[in-house]
Symmetry: C2
Subunit: 327 residues, 2 copies
């Protein structure tokens, strides 16, 4: 049946994913992903995205005998001017002062909204994923960086300037590890993908025994969070230790969130959730130690349900939510 | 002129304060305070409060040629069941499973609401104090413990179970100082009144030179946060160091709040704000280092404007806010 669709675009540090989401809700269809072109101008990436979108529409409209796209939501990392629709600075992408919302709108001939990528992923999980039905939902996104979002009574909370839930740069150890942001002891300095790898590497350099070194043929610089996970799955004791420590540190960060926001649920989004109980058991145990009893009892800590498409679904959802506010 | 008033009751670990607040807003009148009776049953304290209330009403109604009290808001520390109106556990008061809202309502013959004391203080600052006009306001209360509150669009945010903004037990150094809650590195373990004193004492025991020791006739156990403040005012270098360190650590906590909630303002409530620039300058400087630039720029960090009565005014305001929701 032909219907209304919203395009979701999820721009990340390494990949961009697009997909069409039914305006009445549902999973993303015609999902297309591709690697980001390192250092590419935003206008070049917008052309790529427009091409992916046309492929996606062709596939979806063929399967549904027609259809219509009513708008586009764009999720992007970095420092954004939400009201102005522009990327002020996205260091990982090399984009500065890019009017991304209007570029996308012009390229596709559709109304567009721009939103922070982690906000989109959180909203996607609230709208169609693991966060459905929760009044106060917090999302924590784990990847190259650590971010998040807050959905209150079904509305993305934006604070004073659209820069809420920057959990990666909350301090959990003010005398601790140096962070890429220049400070010491940020959550991200311990538990982002690259820092999980860095901590694993440091232990090996200090003499820890592990199958990890063999997995990367002795090239410790080649260790990633994924390598650590693979060693863990193969029963490596040291990789397990690194994961448990990561989980406990994430537990400190999640306990802080719970003590501040007293949410109904915290949904954890990102590849590291594949570690399952290896992650969630020590994480929940640390939260039980540190969170206020009544708040801990009220809060579920759950993995996201849309591992590949939370950002796409959420970006589309944010477009609809903004469009309905504008009515 | 005779008018409608709301009684505000602010129960603290050491004092209880009552006052009448005009229902249309304004400062508290007929304010009465007294020391809490150590270990007293709640019913005994309720009798004391009822007596203070009668004195307060007599004074205010005489001055205004009559008047009417329409209800009572009660602020209380500890673990509260807000919906049920009861104190589940207030360790500092020795109260467990006390139906405080109904005790107070019966004693005064007035409808009553119960709310967390730090929530009340924050709401009071939003309604009549330094937080007026801010859409997203966070209060941080500094005293024997550290707490806070969150007001969003004029409504006290309560989360899933009414236990939001427990800033004192957010972790800023997970390998750090032991906290009374049993964990390590809570903000409160560094920056509450007793812990400011403890840190000052530890430095003296380690050989720091200071006029502080003389101020307490060599009895280091007699040092309090107030003594540290007095030494600071008299130009003591070591007391200044302790205050700057306290301010920086509070800055870490406030930066975390800003990175999570992106508020329009953070209002700091409590006696320690008397330190003025000695507190606020290093605190703001630490926040500038650690908070997300756009969020930091959007946020004012200000002292409360109702040093003695924020809790009383806020408790009365919460009663009115709840009454209007119930209409």
């Amino acid at each position: 049946m032909a219907g209304d669709w919203v395009l979701g675009v999820d721009i990340g540090g390494t990949n961009v994913v697009v997909g069409l989401v039914p305006a009445e809700g549902g999973p993303a269809a015609g999902v297309r992903g591709r690697a980001m072109v390192g250092g590419a101008e935003a206008s070049v990436m917008v052309e790529h995205i427009a091409r992916m979108t046309r492929d996606s529409m062709e596939e979806v409209f063929q399967a549904h005998s027609g259809g219509r796209v009513v708008g586009v939501g764009v999720g992007c990392p970095g420092d954004l001017d939400i009201a102005g629709g522009s990327v002020v600075a996205a260091h990982n992408l090399g984009w500065f002062d890019v009017p991304l919302r209007d570029l996308m709108s012009d390229a596709l001939g559709l109304p567009a909204v721009l939103e922070n990528d982690a906000n989109c992923a959180t909203y996607g999980e609230w709208w169609q994923g693991a966060g459905q039905g929760f009044r106060t939902l917090v999302g924590v996104t784990l990847g190259t960086g650590i971010g998040g979002g807050i959905v209150l009574d079904g509305v993305l909370f934006r604070g004073a300037s659209g820069t809420v839930a920057e959990f990666g740069h909350t301090t959990i150890n003010y005398t601790g590890r140096r962070c890429t942001c220049g400070n010491y002891g940020c959550l991200e300095a311990y538990a982002s993908g690259p820092n999980i790898a860095a901590r694993a590497r440091e232990g090996l350099e200090a003499g820890a025994e592990s199958a990890l070194a063999a997995l990367v043929d002795g090239d410790l610089d080649a260790i990633t969070a994924v390598t650590v996970y693979e060693a863990l799955v193969e029963g490596d004791e040291y990789a397990h230790e690194v994961m448990v420590e990561t989980a406990r540190i994430l537990g400190v960060g999640v306990a802080n969130i719970i003590n501040v926001l007293n949410p109904d649920a915290v949904v954890i989004v990102g590849g590291v959730t594949r570690a399952g109980d290896h992650l969630f058991r020590p994480l929940r145990s640390e939260v039980r130690k540190r969170a206020f009893g009544r708040s801990e009892a009220a809060c579920r800590i759950i993995p996201g349900a849309l591992p590949e498409t939370a950002g796409v679904v959420g970006a589309a959802g944010v477009f609809l939510s903004e469009a309905s506010r504008g009515d």
